[in-house]
Structure formats: C-alpha cells, structure tokens
Subunit: 229 residues, 2 copies
Amino acid sequence: MNRKMPVKRVFRTKQKRLSADDRRSEFVTKATELFAEEGFGGGTRALARKLGVTQPLLYRYFPSKDDLIKEVYRKVYLEPLEIGWEKLLSDRSRPLRARLQEFYEVYTDAIFNRRWLRIYLYSGLKGLDINRWYVGMVKDKILTRILRECRHDAGLATQSRPSAAELELAWVFHGGIFYYGVRKYIYEAPVLEDKAQMISDALDIFLAGFERMAESATDRRRVPIKVVG
Amino acid sequence: MNRKMPVKRVFRTKQKRLSADDRRSEFVTKATELFAEEGFGGGTRALARKLGVTQPLLYRYFPSKDDLIKEVYRKVYLEPLEIGWEKLLSDRSRPLRARLQEFYEVYTDAIFNRRWLRIYLYSGLKGLDINRWYVGMVKDKILTRILRECRHDAGLATQSRPSAAELELAWVFHGGIFYYGVRKYIYEAPVLEDKAQMISDALDIFLAGFERMAESATDRRRVPIKVVG
DNA sequence: ATCTCTGGTGATCGCTCGATAAACTGAGCC
DNA sequence: GGCTCAGTTTATCGAGCGATCACCAGAGAT
C-alpha cells in the first residue's frame, strides 16, 4: 500500500506526491464517503480537505466534478456485481432454499452498508440511467432467475419469461429484504439483529406464497390467488 | 379559490398581493413541489419564480429557508395520518383480511405519489428526528396493531408487545409494499399496474407466513417454518 | 549538479446561494 | 384626497461553489 517512502523527510505528517493512479483512486474512495454523507452536493473543497490536499488538484485527475461523480457511480454500482450470482443461484446440485439463503446473505453483505445504500438512494433520486440499468439488472439477473429456479423446483414448465404477477411477488419479497437495509443503515432504526434469520423468515413466506400461487395456477388455470372485492 | 379580483386591471397576467395566509401556504405548497424534485438544495430563487414573485418575499413569511423546510416536513409527514387507521385496522366486526386490504389500499393511496415519496426519502437521508418519529409511528401504530389483530384472528394470546421476529416479519411485508411505490415513483420502473392486486398477493403470503409461524410456535417452540434441504 | 517532468499549490474568476435593508405600491379607512 | 399599513420589489452583501491558470517543488535520469 505505502509506496516509495522518501529516505529523508521523516517528519512531514502528510506525505504527499502520490503516484497518479494512487491519488486518483484515493479521490474516488473519499468522494464516495463524502457523497454518501452529504449527497452529491458535497463540495470539492471538503473532498480535498479529506485527502489533505488543495482543491484544484482534483482537476488534474477529473475534468469536472460530474466526471468524478460518474466514477463514484461506476465503483459503487459495480461493486456488488463481483459476487458471481449466476452460478450461486443456478447451481441445481444444491437445494433451492439453500441457494437462495446463501445468495441473499452474500448479496446483502455486499450492499447493506451506509455507504452503498446512501449512494444508491441519492443516485436513485436523481433518476439517472445507471440506476434504471441497475433495477433492470436486478430484475433480469436476480428475480427472473430466482423465479425460473422456483418453477423448476415446483415441477412447473420453465417458461422463458416470468408472468407479471410472479415478478411482482418476487419484487415485493426482494424489496422487503432491501428495506431491512434501509431501515438499519439509512433510518438507523432498530432491526432484528440476526440478518440471516430475517432472510430465512422472508424466504419462508416467499416460498410458501410461490407454492400456493403455483398450486392455484395448475388446478384452475391462472386464477388470481384471491379476489377480495 | 380566486380571491378579490380587481375591478380594473383586467390584464396583469399574475395577480399579486395575496393575503398573508394564502401567500404563506402557497410558499409551502410550491416548496414541497420544488424540494421533491430538486431535494432540499433547491434554491429560494427558483421557488420564488414558481410563485411569480421575487425571492426576498420569502423572508417576510419565513425567518429562514430551514424554517420553510420544517414547514414542508410537517405538511408532508402529517398528510397520510389524516386517514384514521385506528378504527380501520381494529374494527373486528369485519374480517381481518378485508381490513388489511383496505388499510393498505388507503394508506398507499396517500403516500404513493412522487411528491410524498421523494420528500420522505430526502428527509430520511438527512437523518432528521421527524423521520425517526415517523418510522416509530409506523411500527407502533400500524405494524404492532396488525400483529395484534393477526394474533387475535389466529386465536393466540394477545400479548402487549409483538416478538422481535414477528415485528421483523411485518416490517419485511410492509417494506415490500413500500418498495413498490419506490420502484414506481422514484425509479420510474414498470410495475404491476394493479396496485390492489399487488397488495392482495403480498397479503396472501404474509398471512400464510404468519399462520405457519403461529403453528410452529404452538406445536414445537420456534422451529424454522420450512426446511427444504 | 543540473535538467526535466509531473504532482501539487496559491490566487482568482464568475456565478449562485441565503439573507438583509430600504424603497415602492396599492387597497382600505378617515 | 390623503394617510396608513401590509404586501412586494430593488439593490446588495458576504460566503461558498466549480473551475482555471500561472507557478512551485521534489524525485529520477543524465
């Protein structure tokens, strides 16, 4: 991590003169922290202060603050994708429930922290394309996959695309879990500390709900689970 | 609505000189719109432009921008409380499921709109007391009440406070529904258009999950609802 | 020892922000 | 008609913002 400590100059509390790459990534890292707390209105001077450098230095590495922000997006949004959930969710040598449990534990380990959630919500409020892309990704790569595995597990025909009702079921389930993170890290409200237990319980009711839906869909064809009005 | 149209001056596209009360509430209304879109960083000049007046006028009605913001909070947070859910949720002359269905339809009618949700999320990110208060209110006035009714319906002892696991179950359910609004109005992602159907489905799996939990709590104590592996 | 190249700084510009003070204006009252 | 008072505007302040430019300084090559 430490590179090229000068022989002389033992004092000098802040070593400066980092390599270009190191400085650049340091800007991104600290900018993520700053923007997570202050929102993207956080100032470039406050950012420079966090690095112990002066504000104009930022512009040696990024043409504008907006470019820095884009870099922060890239880092934050791509971080949780490094898990490789394809194989985790689709590995049919393992029981479905265990796969889902592990996936959501790993996934929430990646995104349930103050930094990620705040950046995500701030960028969501800005309505950026990258946010839409992420939501679409969750739908296609996670929820659709989960539903396909559920259908397979229940012995149903594996259709290419899930029905709108199924998708909504999965979204409500997924959103319920996501909201646990929001309550804990954004609202800082007390939550059930055992995250794995929360996931397990949520899975219980989701899987039970899916089974019911599957049953009523096979018995009579495609009838709403229950019509109230 | 229109007050005191001057006899002459038929032109004059913007009638000004409103009464103090009217002008004040107009500031709050338009500020809510502005802050919902731009966040609380939205400028006082932009706000004045929306009213067709000049910026310093704001300071005749509010000592500072922060006071205006507080007023916006008050209005937004208290709006959905005017429903009177006490009687709606606790009216045991009606079947539980119908009460829950109606409550969530009415509640989401009140909060599922771009304005409310965005203000709510922005203020949540600021970590203000009023947000904590609201979350606590949801817990005490909605979720706890729902759980009590569920226990009663299932013939269980009505304990004063729900268990942490029950509460978490209810939170995940509630959060799943809430997230539907976020997806629709914040992310502007396509959702199942039939909101009532979404609520109905979510209720199905929540109630089924609660029943199972209640059963396993009475049969053997605290066993995972279902273990697939 | 000197040169050079590059990471880093100081000063500053133009703009927008929230906020203040003083001047203006028009409807209601005598 | 003229007075008054409350709603509104004009002008302006100081601070903070993103961004630019000329300059500085220190490590490595020669």
